[in-house]
């Protein structure tokens, strides 16, 4: 069994300040972990993924995430928020390469204030 918990349903930051989106997971297997972003009325766009290589993963638009097995966490960060980062973010776990089912976190909605 696997599960994903995004610890914050809403995050509000000021433009130019750091962003932290928290994600904890549980999995009986070696997981693959992903962060996706969804802008209003759009599909989900991949930000970055962890698939058992380097634990610090760099993604698009200045985002990065660190896989911490001991803490079962995969938190997403960005040093400086931009207005265009306002969106909903989903942490997703997949059971390795063979898993056909993804488990989605509940999502974190990010508001960026000018």
């Amino acid at each position: 069994a696997q599960s994903v918990t995004q610890l914050d349903s809403h995050v509000s930051v000021s433009e130019g300040t750091p962003v932290l989106l928290r994600c904890n997971y549980s999995s009986s297997y070696s997981p693959s972990l992903f962060w996706y972003v969804q802008h209003p009325n759009k599909g989900l766009q991949l930000l970055l993924k962890y698939t058992s290589a380097a634990t610090l993963v760099k993604g698009i638009n200045g985002f990065e995430a660190e896989f911490k097995k001991s803490e079962t966490s995969f938190h997403l960060t960005k040093p400086s928020a931009h207005m265009s980062d306002a969106a909903e973010y989903f942490c997703v776990v997949s059971r390795g390469a063979a898993g056909n089912k993804l488990t989605f976190g509940g999502g974190t909605r990010v508001l960026v204030k000018p």
Partner: protein, 115 residues
């Protein structure tokens, strides 16, 4: 870039109508998925296809069927639309080659309203 195309972005259908949602991917991916997304409920898997003519029920298959006659196309069918099927439907695909690396790619979504 991988492209997953959902041909209908916005549809309005009447209760009892048969509805087809089409999805096409251009990366020769083996796996394709249909999800629905509802406020407060997140994304829920309706059906999954791991290859042509192969399908597997997801978490909420009731009221839906799927068709995968060609590798690039995965159709979601609502045999008799009901108002509780008003939702945003997301198609996705995944390949396992060196370039894809187990990544799932999503379409832009189809907003369906059943009246």
């Amino acid at each position: 870039d991988v492209k997953v195309t959902q041909s209908s972005r916005y549809l309005v259908k009447r209760t009892g109508e048969k509805v087809f949602l089409e999805c096409v991917q251009d990366m020769d991916h083996e796996n394709m998925f249909w999800y629905r997304q509802d406020p407060g409920l997140g994304l829920r898997l309706i059906y999954f296809s791991y290859d042509v003519k192969m399908k597997e029920k997801g978490d909420i298959p009731e009221g839906y069927s799927v068709s995968r006659e060609k590798k690039e196309r995965f159709s979601l069918i609502l045999e008799s639309a009901s108002t509780n099927q008003t939702s945003m439907y997301l198609c996705a695909s995944r390949g396992f080659g060196a370039g894809s690396g187990n990544t799932i790619y999503f379409g832009e979504g189809s907003w369906l309203t059943v009246v």
